[in-house]
Point group: C2
Chain length 343, copies 2
DNA sequence: GTGAAAGCGCTAACAT
DNA sequence: ATGTTAGCGCTTTCAC
């Protein structure tokens, strides 16, 4: 399809607005970007023409000329998680009044996908990258190191980041949950999680949890990992299976609130004495828990604040004023709810 | 900051790869895009150099030169909804092997935000737009009409679209739910929804529902709208309130499954005879329902398939082969579950 | 199979 | 306050 000057579907250019308004391209450009001094009269002429024609600027050309792109790459493992939408909320909130725009990529917990999404996004020369986790393929890590833009790795602070890091220590979260459970007098404890070899944060929580139990001379009675399907349903099924196998269990630690909620519903329906004879806890602090018949014990993962702090670093508005290499470790708070007994 | 030729943070260009490999920029470009004939020897040299240097192509320049952008704008109202992540899943699935990349914008149900996000996205000259709903500001509609690229409006088929449309009739969904409820013998019916003046699909479902009741000579006993907070919790609260106000109610129709689930849990805890004396239904068919103590009646909104069909149209792979103006009306299926009594 | 030249639509820098 | 010039880093086109 050739582009004649008369083709009505040819996207409009600055030149069209320039001709329609009798003002130079440069001045049109200035008006449209609110730059420099332009008289009210010409400004009005230009805006009228642009609006009448329905001109939409070409950011591709603009970005190439100015070497500036108002995009921030945000790379996360999943959207169906309830946790990442919260992080994104925090990010948007901050970026909204900076002129920066988040662009989201989803890796599905695959390091290979992460690598290729990162490559794709970097090829648009964004102003910064916010990426979940500290574990990346060597190629991805090297891209991040050489990108020459601010990088913020989020969610996890257990390890060394490429540049800035905003997260929580999942290992510590696991340890503290173990400590709370032990302190409440539970002794025969099992772990239920989703099978996600590349969910390093869930893995670290489990490691910390085991460590915490060990400190009290305890070991996990059992651990189960499922994958796929409705998390709520999986939580039920896993709970039923593990309690059948080990009726002596007195505490179930779930790797996330959704499966924990499923487990809680199942236990209540089946007449378990929660938290008297059987304690339960999840992780994340999702607001879905507010609607359950009983409050599942959990730990707030600071999702919204992680988003805010990460975006602030990218926007150069971080509290510290530091340039790069900032490390922010947030502290998740244990919410004992009604599924850990009081002592 | 000036860019000396020695600055190690200056992004690499084709020229750098060209010099490092002793091959012309043009040939490097061909290798990197797998275009045209290049001898294996030079191809190897180029790839080696590109990899060694860590070259990441500049898509901005590429897009400007080629007038081709592999981006598809996807504009939706919310991510925390459980429904849009499913649509996105369908979209990605299809686009994955077309070289196209979805870029997501979230409007929060604000027409103004939708307009500005659309403007922003169009300024990157995407290859297509997938946008939720048929209702837009006049300016947004005009941008869509003049964009000169495929537009697919999704989720809703009750109205006239700009170009292609893939969705379901929410009015009809409401009518059919009403018919099913009436057929089951319920008579004193209330509606519970979230207060969302710009959620046109929820509005149309309610309108269709009222219409369906009218056909049987019935009227809504009550309707309640809440906003904000955990949907599950809101569902509980609304249910409690409305049943207190109108104890004679024998059916509750919820505008979405999440508040429906909250209502279901509350009713079960409070000893209501569901579905004998009180029937319940939601909308969407979210898989969370699988994990509830009883299956909430619902209607599948065909979210995943909507994503697939929309993406196929953008990718030019639609079954019909039609160019533009395609209208696909999907048929939501009533899933009676265990909360509508059988006759 | 490879290279040289022109230009995509803008904006930085420098006039005036 | 407004205009002119020279690219931004690629790809298209055409030449060899």
């Amino acid at each position: 399809m050739t582009r004649t000057p008369l083709d009505p579907r040819r996207p409009l250019t600055l030149r069209d607005v320039s001709e329609a308004s009798g003002v130079s391209e440069m001045t049109v450009s200035r008006v449209l970007r609110n730059r420099g001094d332009v008289s009210d009269a010409t400004r009005a002429k230009v805006l009228e023409a642009a609006q009448r024609l329905g001109y939409v600027p070409n950011k591709i050309a603009g970005a190439l000329a100015s070497q500036r792109v108002n995009l921030v790459a945000v790379i996360i493992p999943s959207l169906s998680n309830l946790v990442f939408p919260d992080v994104l909320g925090g990010i948007s909130e901050v970026l909204e009044d900076t002129g920066l725009q988040p662009v989201v990529g989803v890796t599905k917990y695959s390091p290979q996908r992460e690598e290729s999404i990162l490559y794709e996004m970097l090829s648009w020369r964004p102003s910064g990258v916010i990426i979940a986790g500290l574990e990346h393929t060597p190629a991805a890590r090297s891209m991040l190191e050489n990108a020459g833009i601010p990088i913020v790795e989020i969610m996890d602070s257990d390890g060394k980041g490429v540049d800035s890091v905003v997260g929580i220590s999942h290992r510590r979260a696991g340890r503290e949950m173990a400590a709370a459970i032990v302190a409440a007098g539970y002794k025969r404890i099992a772990f239920l999680g989703t099978k996600m070899p590349d969910d390093h944060r869930a893995r670290k929580r489990l490691e910390g949890f085991i460590e915490g139990l060990a400190k009290a001379g305890l070991e996990l009675v059992d651990s189960v990992f499922y994958s796929g399907g409705s998390a709520l349903l999986k939580g039920r099924e896993m709970t039923k299976a593990v309690l059948k196998r080990h009726p002596e269990i007195d505490f179930l630690y779930y790797s996330n609130d959704m499966i924990g909620a499923g487990g809680l519903l199942w236990c209540l329906e089946n007449g378990y004495d929660v938290p008297g004879k059987l304690g339960l806890a999840g992780f994340n602090g999702v607001d879905l828990l507010d609607g359950l018949p009983r409050r599942l014990a959990t730990m707030d993962a600071c999702r919204h604040e992680i988003g805010i702090r990460a975006a602030e670093i990218i926007a150069g508005r971080s509290h510290s004023g530091q340039i790069g290499g900032e490390v922010v470790e947030l502290t998740p708070v244990l919410q004992p709810g009604d599924t850990i007994r009081k002592r």
